[in-house]
Every structure is written in structure tokens, then in C-alpha cells.
Symmetry: C2
Subunit: 343 residues, 2 copies
DNA sequence: ATCTTCCGTGTGAGCGTTTACATGCAATAA
DNA sequence: TTATTGCATGTAAACGCTCACACGGAAGAT
């Protein structure tokens, strides 16, 4: 098997050291902002680096015990705008911190896949991990924890208190949207859950139930369908809901993508949105304004969640001993055209 | 500055060598499928690796002159499903080839950003690059070429013949969609281009013009607006088109996202889709079935394009001296509900 | 029986860094 | 003045791997 040609011939720390007439260790000190370097030497080294167009070899750096300046982003897939928004926030932080990102998708192979990644990538490829909506995380969270490997969960507050996580006020979001529908006069409000192994899904459901209770409405199990955050399931659940003898006048889906499925199902039954059925989503992904009618939804500050999680991860990398932080960013109900007062 | 705790203590090639009672070089040979190893030894080493739970340290491997087993994916952003689909294809190939992926987005900072990445990441972090719809690639393509660094362009056939690229039959796609609209009875067909510095945009426009010519229709410059592949621009261009004295009965946007903008604009003027205006997009991203009405569009086999590009890149990494390949995958017109015959 | 080839394996250098330790020199304390 | 500190810098050993080379022994050729 022929070896590939490498991208070699680049200038190393030794070249810089030679150019600046110092030892390579001194160059390394300058590069790592070590305090024990005289201003003149520092200046001379810096000039040499720019003159020679030096850039550090991350592989060597991390092999030698430094940081890799890479974080890993573990996601299921990139299907919807959901991840895209989060990545925007991550990216912003990363670029100012001079970090790069490895992308690990787990959409193939289903279960167990994430853990494979987590162990294999943690071979020093990355300094830390950002886990977006991990599916069944206990298997590998265990490993990460005991190795004290820095990681932050995004949109998954569930599994304990010992790890850092950033999420949104899911319960409040579920509450607000439901309350809004009630105030619009809706009495039979269908609800489609997310994957119930996720804390955020349970919280949204809780908010829904709480709002019903607080307004003196009873919880009808027939109006609650278990979804999975995917569009086809939104369609299926909505079909079931709409064929109920006393069908709901509003449907609240636990994310926007399922809400799109609901829209399909409603039209499929020749019903009008929002005249016959009001629809509310959750997330406020970019597509929610490009569907018709534009979707009323509970906005999660996705980009900000990504940014905050990244900040937290970077801090954790800097100081792995600090206690876990759990951040909840506020959701906000965005009223658009898919909801209206009941006739 | 305190150094972060590393993810150390992992088992190395030396541990495996010891366990299997061979030298570390022999272990390396087994790991790299070198032929000069006896079956028994190979077997023994393999058993040792699994027994010890060994996994290779990529940093060390690539530092030592091997491959990094990482490719870089350079994209503008992850906003729409467009990239997501491509990544699905890439991912599939990568996982069978045991490769990982670094993600580089260039949406911030505008021009020049890509070239920074390209030089910095090529420090040996990656074995090759996949460039999706690069914006003004000449600056850094130059560098990549002269360093003979493997890369493949996706959805960008334009800038020459010397590099490998995978695209789609854009001209044919533009032609097919336009022809379809003509056959539906439309005579005034608006067209919104993509970014005109991209070959694919020019090809789609060419196809549009060719279809008009072939059917004896004249090309009206007023019906052609220059877009940029983003939704707001689709909206703006459509507004302009719709306020023409003799407004078009159909609008063909150079991608789906702009088509969504067109939909907005059409509704904004209280016109009906497809009754008053037919709309066609390009790409067939997942969202095109979740808008209403579902979008008629020219399908690009995005996942397949990603997969093919990845295969090509992997071959190129294996053998950098092979000639550039240019692949065009077929597009297909997908008729949905946003178009209808003229009244 | 001797020379050559080739195969399986070991030895050791080197990839570009970081970092513990050593060194020398100036400044301060005695 | 001499001992002591502290700072700027150099030396060299890792980090975990690949690969060129060396080497011994078995098989084939003469």
C-alpha cells in the first residue's frame, strides 16, 4: 500500500528558533505565553514566526502533552436547521479561542455508535466534547466521567447533576405555549412528545400538563401521543389525533420538525391551518418561517446555547476540577400565523 | 496558565507489543496491514490489541508520517438541509474507511476566511479536503494545487479542469425545469440566479435560456434577476419580478431556499401558489416537502454527491498522482404541488 | 555444499512539540 | 565581599507512532 504524500516541508519550531537565534524551547515558551521570556526575545521570536510563516503543528503539540486545540461535536445528524443554529454559536466561540472542531454524526447504526466515537475520539484527538441531544448517554457518559474528560451536554438536562449542561426552560416553554392556546379559547389541545428518554421532552410535557391544570382543564391521555422529534412521526401522531371522535382544535408538537408533519396531516384531511386546527412547534428553526403558514413556536436560543456550552467546555478544559454548571436559557413564545383564536 | 489534564493512561503500541511478545514495529506492521507478518504473529497481536483495548493514537501516527485518518470539510454554513444531505453521503463513506472529519465553516468574516483554514488545517491535521461550494476559491486552490494536497470540489465545476470535482447536470436541470414550465403553458417565466461566480449558477441559467430558445421564446432580461442562494434574496427578487408590468406566471429559483423566499413574496402580494404563480426550486432539500404547497424542484443527488466526492478524495489520498476526475451526477425534476398548468 | 534470495522480525531514529531540569548571570541580602 | 535568590535561557527526554535498515534463518539455485 503506497503511502500518501504528506503536506510536509512546513517550517517548524526549530527553524524559528534558528532564525531568532534562540533555543526551540524558548520559541515554545513564547508560543505558549510563558511568562519567563524577556520582552526583546519574545519580540524577536514573534518576528521570526511571521517572517517564516510558521504555524504550529497541532499533532505534535498534543502528542507532547499540550492541548490539541480541537473539540469534538457529537450530533445525531445535520438534517434540520436545529444543529445548524447551534453550530453557529459554537463556531463563534471556537474561532475566537483558536479552536477547531471535529464533527461526529451518529445517525447510522443506531445505538452504541456514540460510545464508539467517544472512546475512539478521546484518544487525544480532542480536548473536550460537546454532546448535542445524546440519545442514550449513560453508557459512555460513565466512561467520560471516570476519565475526567471534559464534556458539556446541550439540550439534555436529564441524567444527573454531576455534569455540565446547557438547556432551555423547556417546562416554561411548554407551559407558555399551552397557556397561549388556552387563552385563544382552545380546550382540546393535542400534544406530541419528543423522545421520552430525553429530559427536555419530559419537561415540555410537564409544562403542557401544568398549564392545563392551572386553567382547570383535565388531562386527556388520548390527546397525548408519543413522538420522536422526526417529521414522519409528527404526521402519524397528528393523523391519530385528528381521527379522534372529538378531535383537538390545536396541536402542540415538541419540536418544529414534527409540527411540519402535523401540518401535512392537517392538510391531508382537508382541514385549514389555522382555521380548523392551530399548530405550535418548539425550537424556532429557520424553516419555521419558510413554511406556510409561518409557524407559531417556542423559540430556543439555539445559537446562544451553542455558544454558552462552548464557553463552559473551554473553561472546563482549562480547569477540569471546577464543579459542573447547569445553565438554562430562556425560551420565548413566537406567535406567527399557524395559530388563531377558536371560532 | 494551568495545563489541562490529558486523557492519558491509554494503552500504547508498546503495551500491545509486550503483551504479544513481539517488537513494537511488528505491532505497527499488523496495524497497517503490512504483508510481511506471519499469520500466527498477526493473530497474536490482534488478540493482544483487543484484550488490552488498544486503539491507535492518530496524532502520533500522523506525526510519524502516516495518515491522520481525518479529512476536512469546508462549508459556508450549516443553515439549510443542503449540507446535511451531502454530509450524510460523506459520512457513510468515511465510516467504512475509518476516517474522521473536521468541520470548517466559513460563514463568519467573509472573504479570506477559507484560505486561512486551508493553510492552517493543512498542517497535517487532515489528509485531504472536501470543499463544498467554495466561494472564491482561486486564492487558496492555488496553494493546494502547488503543494499537491488532495482535495475535491463539491458542486463547483467551474474554475478549471485540473482539479477533481463532483457536481450535477446543472444545465440539464435548468433546461428540464424550464421546459416543464413551458409545456405547462407558461410564457413569462422569471428566473433567479445563484451566485454568478459559481459555475453551477451559470449552468442553470444557461439551461433556462436554452429551453426558452428551443421553444421559440425570447429571453427577456427583465425576467432574470441575480440572486445569491439565500432566502431573503429570493424574496426580494420575486418582489421585483411580481411588480413588473407584465408579471411572470412562473418563477424558477436557482435553489430551494430562494424558492421559499419566492413563496413568501407571492403570498405577500396576495397571490396564490400555484394558481397565480408556479414556483420551481433546485436541490430538493428535505424542507421542500415540508413547505406548503410542496415544492416542485430539480433534485440534485446530494448524498450521492457527497459519497462520490469522498470516494474520489480517498483515492486521491491513496494515490495523489492520479489525474483529476470530474463527475456529473444526473439531476431529476421532481414535480410536486407548487406548479400547475396555466389557466 | 555453498551462494543467493527473501521473508519475518527487531533496532533505532525521527516526526514537532512540551516540559522538567540544569545553567549562568544579575540583583538582592547578609 | 560572599551567599542567596530569581529570572532568562538552554539541554534533553519524553509523547506514540512509522519506517529505513539490519539481521538471522529457511528455501531455492547453482
Amino acid at each position: 500500500m503506497p503511502r500518501g504524500t504528506r503536506f510536509t516541508g512546513s517550517v517548524t519550531i526549530v527553524d524559528v528558533a534558528h532564525e531568532a537565534r534562540v533555543s526551540h524551547a524558548t520559541v515554545s515558551r513564547v508560543l505558549n505565553n510563558d511568562s519567563h521570556v524577556s520582552p526583546e526575545t519574545r519580540e524577536r521570536v514573534l518576528r521570526a514566526t511571521t517572517r517564516l510563516g510558521y504555524s504550529v503543528n497541532q499533532q505534535a503539540r498534543s502528542l507532547a502533552g499540550g492541548r490539541s486545540q480541537v473539540i469534538g461535536l457529537v450530533v445525531r445528524d445535520l438534517g434540520t436547521g436545529y444543529i445548524g443554529e447551534i453550530v453557529r454559536g459554537i463556531d463563534d466561540q471556537l474561532s475566537t479561542a483558536q479552536y477547531d472542531m471535529m464533527l461526529y454524526t451518529t445517525h447510522r447504526g443506531g445505538t452504541g455508535k456514540e460510545s464508539v466515537y467517544v472512546t475512539s475520539l478521546a484518544q487525544g484527538m480532542t480536548d473536550g466534547l460537546l454532546l448535542v441531544l445524546p440519545q442514550n448517554p449513560e453508557s459512555y457518559l460513565q466512561t467520560l466521567r471516570q476519565r475526567r474528560f471534559p464534556f458539556v451536554l446541550i439540550d439534555h438536562n436529564g441524567s444527573g447533576e454531576s455534569e455540565s449542561a446547557v438547556g432551555a426552560t423547556n417546562r416554561q416553554g411548554g407551559y407558555d405555549a399551552t397557556k397561549y392556546l388556552i387563552e385563544l379559547g382552545h380546550r382540546r389541545i393535542g400534544f406530541i412528545t419528543g423522545s421520552m428518554d430525553l429530559g427536555c421532552s419530559r419537561d415540555r410535557l410537564d409544562g403542557y400538563k401544568a398549564a392545563l391544570c392551572d386553567h382547570g382543564l383535565s388531562i386527556d391521555q388520548a390527546l397525548i401521543r408519543q413522538g420522536d422529534f422526526h417529521q414522519p412521526m409528527g404526521f402519524t401522531c397528528a393523523q391519530a389525533l385528528l381521527s379522534l371522535p372529538d378531535r383537538p382544535t390545536a396541536i402542540f408538537a415538541s419540536n418544529d420538525v414534527m409540527a411540519f408533519g402535523v401540518m401535512e396531516a392537517v392538510r391531508d384531511q382537508a382541514l385549514k391551518i389555522p382555521d380548523d386546527v392551530s399548530i405550535v412547534g418548539f425550537d424556532d428553526i429557520p424553516q419555521s418561517v419558510s413554511v406556510y403558514p409561518q409557524l407559531t413556536t417556542v423559540q430556543q436560543p439555539l445559537a446562544e446555547m451553542g455558544a454558552r456550552a462552548t464557553q463552559m467546555l473551554l473553561e472546563l478544559i482549562e480547569n477540569p476540577d471546577q464543579p459542573a454548571q447547569r445553565v438554562e436559557l430562556p425560551t420565548e413564545l413566537i406567535v406567527r400565523a399557524s395559530t388563531r383564536a377558536i371560532k
